[in-house]
């Protein structure tokens, strides 16, 4: 057996992934659960399995921990095919925490964590002081040492989940598989648990975790594998995997993907199901209002452009994140003619212009190029002369834009939305 502690290396010097699955297919009871799923996790990486319910995340983990044999495909741990290893050998390399465990007998927390030492004990061995140190250390790390002598059956779901993680740590394996490790945890323990996983990865462990919270997954995973209907829909760094199109494909849901304020990870905001607004819109304005307008409209399905905005403004940041063309100028430099012309051109081509936040004098001509305007009420919105519709908040923008598209004011729109035709009279 080769030495795994220093990290596996191939014969040609290429690093072998610590854990890999190639073309895994599983069908249970005649239903295909996984089709040709491949993934790999390098030494020290945290790989997140994300995807809708029933996508095959748990099944993938069962295959990876060799408690389910795939119909085809190979799982390798440090290069060795897992089906060639005994249960004991697998358990010395791969530890896993199940989503929930059935415990109908009253073991104490310590006894439950001690079971994690099973892979390292021979049939006639008894746990020695070294084993007890590992158990104590594992309980400390997941913050369950305080109730070491309580019965596992008396714990809450979240506490029990942490006990399972402690058991997996006591196994001292290079690979850790976690099935929804945070599903029952409060936000504090969820973050602590994933911080711990990240620390373990820094210490050289390899972790694969099924995580249903996309934002936690984005924040703590080096790579994500997006599963849907038993297939890998996308794989790679969170930024590449968590995009509106891939999420629409996998979850059949509209989402808005922006950046998490405190980290550079993507932030996914799910949006309610609506008919997409099939219009092109040019957004004029700055600040949170304009950025919100861009986000809402993109999420609603509109094709959006923006400008002119000073670089560094919230709207100037948001638009490129969402792949929207935006005309920017350096801050405090004034608007040059070229920029104004480009923005005016975009506004003229759009079905309507949305005015949100502080527009500034320089943008007056851009707004004037529009043949329809929807304005978000608020300070800084200029008293422009062109006919327009006013909405109270950015949340109402998609409906207002969609309403314009019909050209016929619907009776229920009349309260808030004044149509251009009414104004013309």
């Amino acid at each position: 057996m080769s030495d795994h502690s220093s990290g596996p290396d191939g014969h040609d010097g290429e690093p072998i992934p610590m854990l890999s699955a190639e073309d895994i297919s599983v069908s249970l009871g005649g239903t295909d659960i996984l089709s040709d799923v491949s993934l790999s996790a390098d030494c020290g990486a945290v790989v997140g399995l994300v995807g809708p319910n029933g996508a095959g995340k748990t099944t993938t983990l069962r295959v990876l921990r060799a408690t389910l044999s795939p119909d085809s495909g190979t799982v390798r741990v440090a290069g060795d095919p897992i089906d060639g290893l005994s249960s004991k050998q697998v358990s010395q390399r791969v530890a896993s925490t199940p989503q929930a465990t059935e415990l109908s007998f009253e073991f104490t927390v310590r006894q439950a964590v001690e079971m994690g030492r099973t892979p390292h004990l021979g049939r006639f061995d008894r746990a020695d002081s070294g084993d007890r140190e590992v158990v104590d250390g594992a309980m400390e790390r997941v913050d369950v040492a305080r109730f070491a002598d309580r019965a596992v059956t008396s714990l809450s779901g979240g506490e029990r989940q942490r006990v399972l993680l402690a058991r997996a740590l006591a196994q001292e394996t290079p690979v850790l598989l976690l099935d929804e490790p945070t599903s029952n945890l409060d936000i504090n323990h969820a973050v602590n648990t994933l911080e711990l996983v990240a620390d373990l990865a820094d210490e050289g462990k390899t972790a694969v975790a099924a995580i249903h919270d996309l934002n936690l997954a984005a924040r703590y995973c080096d790579e994500l594998v997006l599963l849907a209907d038993g297939e890998v829909r996308a794989a790679g760094p969170p930024r590449e995997v968590l995009t509106s199109p891939t999420l629409r494909d996998a979850f059949d849901a509209e989402t808005l993907v922006t950046g998490q304020p405190a980290t550079d990870a993507p932030l996914v905001t799910p949006l309610p199901d609506r008919e997409p607004v099939d219009r092109t819109v040019h957004v004029v304005g700055t600040g949170g209002q304009a950025a919100g307008a861009v986000g809402r409209l993109v999420a609603a399905g509109a094709t959006v452009s923006a400008g002119v905005v000073p670089a560094g403004d919230a709207a100037a940041e948001r638009a490129p994140e969402l792949d929207c063309p935006v005309v920017t100028v350096p801050p405090f430099a004034g608007v040059d003619d070229g920029s104004r012309e480009r923005a005016t051109e975009l506004a003229g081509a759009a079905d309507c212009v949305v005015v949100a936040g502080d527009v500034g004098d320089a943008n007056q001509s851009v707004v004037a190029a529009a043949d329809r305007v929807v304005a978000v009420a608020g300070e800084g919105v200029p008293a422009i002369e062109s006919p327009r519709t006013t909405v109270a908040t950015v949340a109402e923008l998609p409906a207002a834009v969609a309403g314009l598209a019909t050209r016929d004011p619907r009776p229920d729109d009349g309260r808030r939305v004044e149509s251009r035709e009414q104004q013309d009279r």
Partner: protein, 356 residues
């Protein structure tokens, strides 16, 4: 280490209890013998080897008694010749049923499982009742007990085969197959009883479980049939702990689940069959004793298995003493159920057994 010491303390205490129960029980009967006299008779039976002589194939062991108390020959005959074989057989049977019940509850992860859950008792019943009713003579001069023993093992193995597919034996399937086979074998027993004629009383007496007429050879043979599986089960106690986490978890902790399950089922069934073959069907010992001991010592099988077995031995010796000390002998199976069920219900109300 802590577990080891607790196991030793509990086992010693329960062994002392068993010795006390045996001593008192051996004094009880038509002739009352004070426990002190019984103790002297029992201590006189202790011997130490003094010389071993090997002559060809035969090994001659010369022994010397440790104690030489003066006891009355009549008391000596009553205790050693009549009462002790039956008492020791009760101890062995109780030991086996409680140990097997502990194992089955662990395998099925269900505190309601009993030693006969995969059809051992039903199989033994068909073997025994068939032997009594048909009156057939078996080859090699084997009798009623061999028929019951064989029936028990055939039934258990049959249930195992029915529930196994592709090398896997899911416990849920095993449980259902066990129930179905028990029902079927129950029908066979009923049919045999309908046609039993003269022998129906003997068949019913067997079915209710009794230890009447026990003699030394049965004590030694059943002791051997119980001691070997029990020693092996002790080796697997830690694996069984891990199996309580669920089979997938156990496998990911390095347990060869299917192989372990197979071994545990075989050993527990063997011990149960050895007990049932000599004593008939004695209910409740294998269900209630592990239960009570789990309340006292916790679910760790390294301590639960030996303590349950010892407590089961004491329990059956005590109940069999009651069964034989009335004016007419009552089958001990009736006594265990009549005492065990109310006690169990008391625990159920008091200690919330359903949460185990």
């Amino acid at each position: 280490m802590r577990t080891h010491r607790r196991t030793a303390v509990w086992s010693l205490a329960l062994s002392a209890l068993l010795a006390a129960v045996v001593t008192v029980s051996a004094g009880i009967g038509p002739v009352w013998i004070p426990p002190a006299d019984v103790a002297q008779v029992l201590l006189n039976a202790l011997v130490v080897p003094t010389a071993v002589e090997v002559t060809g194939a035969a090994v001659d062991v010369t022994t010397r008694p440790v104690f030489r108390f003066r006891v009355s020959p009549i008391q000596q005959q009553i205790v050693m010749g009549i009462r002790l074989p039956r008492i020791l057989l009760a101890a062995v049977v109780g030991f086996a049923l409680a140990a097997a019940g502990t194992i089955m509850q662990g395998i099925f992860r269900n505190p309601m499982a009993d030693p006969s859950i995969i059809g051992v008792s039903s199989g033994a019943a068909v073997g025994a009742v068939g032997f009594i009713v048909v009156g057939a003579s078996l080859p090699f001069g084997l009798g009623l007990r061999a028929a019951a023993f064989a029936g028990a093992l055939v039934a258990a193995f049959g249930v195992y085969l029915i529930a196994t597919e592709g090398g896997r034996t899911p416990v849920a399937t095993l449980l259902l197959a066990g129930v179905a086979v028990q029902t079927f074998l129950g029908a066979v027993v009923s049919f045999l009883l309908l046609n039993a004629g003269e022998s129906i009383r003997r068949a019913l007496f067997w079915l209710m479980g009794h230890l009447k007429g026990a003699a030394w050879p049965e004590v030694w043979s059943s002791l051997a049939l119980v001691a070997v599986p029990f020693a092996l089960l002790l080796v697997y106690a830690r694996d069984l702990n891990v199996m309580l986490l669920g089979e997938e978890d156990a496998q990911s902790l390095g347990i060869e689940v299917e192989r372990t399950k197979r071994i545990l089922l075989a050993l527990a069934s063997l011990a149960t069959a050895a007990g049932v073959a000599v004593a008939g069907i004695i209910g409740f010992v294998g269900l209630i004793v592990p239960h009570v001991m789990r309340l006292l010592v916790g679910p760790d099988h390294r301590i639960l298995l030996p303590t349950s077995a010892l407590a089961g031995a004491s329990f059956l010796v005590a109940t069999d003493t009651l069964a034989r000390s009335g004016s007419a002998e009552v089958p001990v199976g009736i006594v265990t159920a009549a005492l065990g069920a109310p006690f169990f219900l008391y625990l159920l109300r008091k200690r919330e057994v359903h949460e185990l």
